[in-house]
């Protein structure tokens, strides 16, 4: 069995402070780390004991529906870890073995983990439909964490972490290029509106720190332009920080220590700039990491953290928006709708910005993941990614003609266009929600 992605080599790992565990230590270390996590995360310890194998999750998981691979059934995926847990960390598994579903650790165990836990998008749809609320994403987070602690991770995750260390963003954009790009966007805005709207970088004594996704300085600049116009309209004293030009927190997707370091970076940047408010840009899992994890791992947090869509929706009354003549639908990023309390806000914004807003089915907390969630954006996994995106393609197809597909998350923005073209669905425009705000907002009264 060969894992479907490029795996980081020893020299790559050293660059981000990780090391490979020798083969003969793998079993002991895996069991040790698993034991540590089971004793550190109540969710995991409950999940290890509570599944009744009812199989309800099978038909709710886009990964299983798209790939038709048994190990992608959430209960089966969780069992990859649960079997090891039972065998080495419970008495009944030790003595009753396969009768209770325990399994020996062998040379395929970690390869299976690497293969299947990187086909879980951590979308939490199984948790939404499980009668006990078992969240397989927790098992995925734990399994990926253990793998990385043993020096096993996709090259993709390693590369992004190396970029983050080097430049403060996942794309590896150095500060001069950030400044260049901000100037370019300022010129674009000037050309369009005739106004001098600034995108300040590292401006001291700012009230607001805006943390965009670095892709907003690269491929999704309309999202950044929309945010800049919004802040201008509201008269905010704001800045972005070159030390954390990244809402995405890939640590959550492969190593929890890296996750907490990223949040530390956010905290330090906000404190050094004197910001009372941190606004997170359009990024799904990054929002979950900032909102749900900062308190427990990086606290105390002396400033407010809010999402750009929440912030924008709260200020809708202070904005003048003209309705764009578009038929628009919204893809709910999983981490907003199931893990971040961002659900009605983008709808309020879209209804204010466009003529016709249509829902895809299912939607909100029942929405299907795009198939790229949890950082499954590796080029070499394209075939699997398209299978993971099949449910999303079906959902969009059912809507008929759409002028604009709003997908306010950088991973969705990287995945969905590929999925739609793969399944032969033609949509004129796609992008963030802030992109539309930027186009609908009236700045010169």
């Amino acid at each position: 069995m060969k894992p479907p992605m490029h795996v980081a080599k020893e020299t790559d790992l050293a660059a981000i402070g990780f090391a490979v565990s020798p083969l003969q230590e793998q079993q002991q270390k895996t069991v040790g780390k698993l034991n540590e996590l089971v004793n550190a995360m109540r969710s995991l310890s409950v999940i290890m004991e509570t599944c009744t194998k009812c199989g309800i999750c099978a038909n709710q998981c886009h990964s299983y529906l798209g790939t038709d691979d048994f190990n992608n059934i959430p209960a089966a995926r969780a069992d990859l870890v649960r079997r090891i847990y039972k065998r080495y960390l419970t008495l009944r598994g030790k003595y009753l073995g396969s009768y209770v579903g325990a399994e020996e650790f062998d040379d395929q165990t970690l390869t299976k983990w690497l293969t299947y836990f990187y086909q879980c998008n951590e979308c939490r749809r199984c948790a939404r439909f499980c009668p006990f609320g078992i969240d397989t994403a927790e098992v995925t987070i734990a399994a990926r964490h253990i793998l990385s602690e043993l020096g096993i991770m996709p090259k993709f995750m390693q590369g992004i972490t190396a970029n983050m260390i080097k430049s403060g963003n996942n794309m590896g954009i150095p500060k001069p290029a950030i400044i260049d790009c901000a100037e370019f966007m300022e010129e674009e805005i000037k050309e369009e509106t005739g106004l001098d709207i600034k995108i300040p970088i590292d401006k001291p004594n700012s009230d607001v720190l805006y943390i965009p996704s670095s892709a907003d300085f690269f491929t999704n600049i309309d999202t950044m332009i929309g945010a800049a116009k919004l802040f201008y309209k509201l008269g905010l004293n704001w800045t972005i920080s070159s030390s954390i030009l990244e809402a995405a927190n890939f640590g959550l997707l492969f190593n929890l220590k890296v996750m907490s370091e990223h949040n530390d970076r956010m905290k330090e940047a906000a404190l050094s700039l004197g910001a009372k408010l941190v606004i997170q840009g359009e990024c799904g899992h990054g929002w979950r990491a900032a909102k749900m994890y900062s308190e427990g791992v990086n606290g105390p947090i002396p400033f407010e953290i809010i999402h750009i869509l929440d912030f924008c929706a709260l200020n809708l009354d202070n904005l003048q928006l003209r309705k764009l003549p578009l038929r628009v639908t919204l893809h709910d990023p999983c981490n907003y709708a199931r893990a971040g309390e961002i659900c009605e806000q983008p709808r309020q914004i879209l209804r204010a910005c466009v003529d016709e807003f249509v829902e895809m089915t299912p939607n909100r907390d029942e929405n299907f993941c795009c198939g790229g969630g949890s950082g499954i954006l590796m080029d070499e996994m394209m075939e699997i990614r398209m299978k993971l995106g099949k449910m999303k393609a079906d959902q969009v197809k059912a809507l008929g003609k759409i002028d604009y597909l709003a997908m306010p998350c950088s991973i969705c923005k990287a995945q969905i266009p590929n999925v739609l073209s793969h399944y032969g669905i033609d949509i004129a425009n796609m992008g963030g929600v802030m992109d539309l705000v930027g186009k609908a907002i009236v700045l010169n009264e």
Binding site: E36, L37, V38, N39, A40, M41, R42, S45, V46, I47, E49, T50, C51, K53, C54, G55, I56, A58, N59, F70, I73, A75, D79, S98, Y99, V100, G101, A127, R128, F129, C130, P131, F132, G133, I134, D135, H145, L256, K257, K291, M292, Y293, S294, E295, G296, V297, N298, G299, P300, I301, P302, F303, E304, Y336, A337, R338, A339, G340, E341, D365
Partner: protein
Amino acid sequence: MLNFIGQILPYLAGGIFIAGMGWRLWTWLRTPVPFKMTLSPAPVGTAQRFIKIGQELLIFKTLRQSDRRLWLWAWMMHLCLAAIIGGHITGIYFLGQQFTALGLSINESVKLSTILGSLSGILIFASLVALLYRRTSNAEVKRLSDPADYFDILLLLAVVISGLHMRLTSLEVDLPAIRTYLGSLMTFKPVSTPQNWIFISHYFLVNILLAYLPFSKMLHMTGFFVNKAMMTATPPVYPSSLNASNISAFRKGGVSE
């Protein structure tokens, strides 16, 4: 043997059940919750939280939404189980006369008690058979199942069949004698075990079930509450004065648990 089953096993099984469940719950509750696990949309306020968990507990709301057929059998099974447990407690304590409280005569109450008990028994039998059938006929569920998953259903079926045997065949069970016996167990003043082999077989199986339960997946009844409590927690609000957890899994140089 009768002495063991009647005088020793109940204490053993009861002890294992209480200690086992307590130990399970304690190992979960002592484990920290470093991150809020809230599944959005989070219920607002305690009342909404109770409603959300209550709907899951009482009508299996999400299961009903995703699979009506499984919901029917699973819900009926659990409903009957609750009725049977309640029926055993009141029926044995009041010797079937509990419904006199509702204005029925003693005869009518005993009759109603018998009917309700038999009905619950038959329905739970049917649901367990249906669930067992589903486990073997649904390809995905079949592959997910371990031998223990079948054992759990078969054990429950054995308990139900032996119970129905007492109910539905002409073998009369001396309820007052059983009441006296169970009462004596609880007050630690032993009397002799009723010598009715149908009763003994049912009673033996129930004891085995009790002792087995904390180590089986039937533990999902406690897992349900612990998990749902986490999933419906109020999300963090910032600024937050909470101190960071210092668990080594989450922070470089953190303290190993």
